[in-house]
Amino acid sequence: MAMIVRLDRVLADRKMALNILAQKTGISVVNLSNLKTGKVRAIRFSTLEAICQALHCQPGDLLEYEADAGLSPE
């Protein structure tokens, strides 16, 4: 997938465990784990907002775009 979630990196930078983030955002640990491992297909703005608020970061810190191999920019 072209979109990569860098939640693990941001959590490591903030030295925060996933269950603490779950408590702060109200999102279940299972869902956060799925997000961290890239198992989700989409993310709501409200979810993104809650994570950014808890981690004091920007959406750009959490998401990264990586072009798929074999796909041209056109």
Binding site: N34, V40, R41
Partner: protein, 198 residues
């Protein structure tokens, strides 16, 4: 709750219809058993009224007295026997088809009653019902045509003619169900998307 209230609440309505279908399911199973018993009885020899002069009393299962007469003595002979057998076998096939439709419909309605209408199995179930309805739209009139033609030949009534015409209503309903299965498949896809969104 009034009928209008039930219609406005699809989960409740689906639950009621599913219960009704459970009753029908049992009824069809009983009918299949009875048809199979009739089939066996036809093979053994056709029953006639007790006042028939050619009656031939015999003891049958359960020590009950049954009056059996060889099929050729009564009417049409082996032709009549094969006709009766064809009718019963046709009936059994029809009942099995109805049973499949009832069971699939009940499963769909139960999923609706349990508030999960976009169950992954539902498009397949609806498609199966559609295929059965379309096929029966062709097959059922053909069976009627075949048996009626057979009867006309048997009683030398060939001056009457009968035409095979597929059942347009069943075919239209089946096609509509196929479209509905497609809609449900799309709904399942959306449901899956929602499930993978956090």
């Amino acid at each position: 709750m009034s009928l209008l209230g039930r219609i406005n609440n699809p989960e409740k309505l689906a639950g009621i219809i599913a219960k009704y279908l459970t009753f029908l399911n049992v009824l069809i199973i009983v009918l299949i058993v009875l048809s199979v018993v009739s089939c066996v009885r036809i093979v053994m020899g056709s029953d006639i009224s007790i006042w028939e002069p050619e009656m031939n009393p015999v003891l049958s299962l359960g020590n009950g007295i049954r009056y059996l007469v060889d099929a050729p003595v009564v009417d049409g002979g082996s032709k009549s026997l094969s006709r009766d057998l064809a009718t019963i076998v046709g009936l059994i096939i029809f009942e099995v088809v109805v049973l499949v439709v009832i069971r699939s419909s009940r499963a769909v309605l139960r999923s609706v009653a349990e508030k999960r209408p976009f169950d992954q199995e539902n498009p397949k179930r609806i498609r199966n019902i559609a295929v059965v309805v379309i096929v029966s739209g062709f097959l059922s009139p053909w069976l009627t045509y075949f048996l009626t033609r057979h009867e006309l030949k048997l009683y030398n009534l060939e001056v009457f003619s009968i035409r095979y015409r597929p059942d347009g209503n069943s075919i239209s309903l089946g096609l509509l169900l196929l479209v509905l299965a497609g809609v449900f498949a799309y709904g399942c896809q959306l449901q899956q998307e929602i499930g993978k969104t956090i």
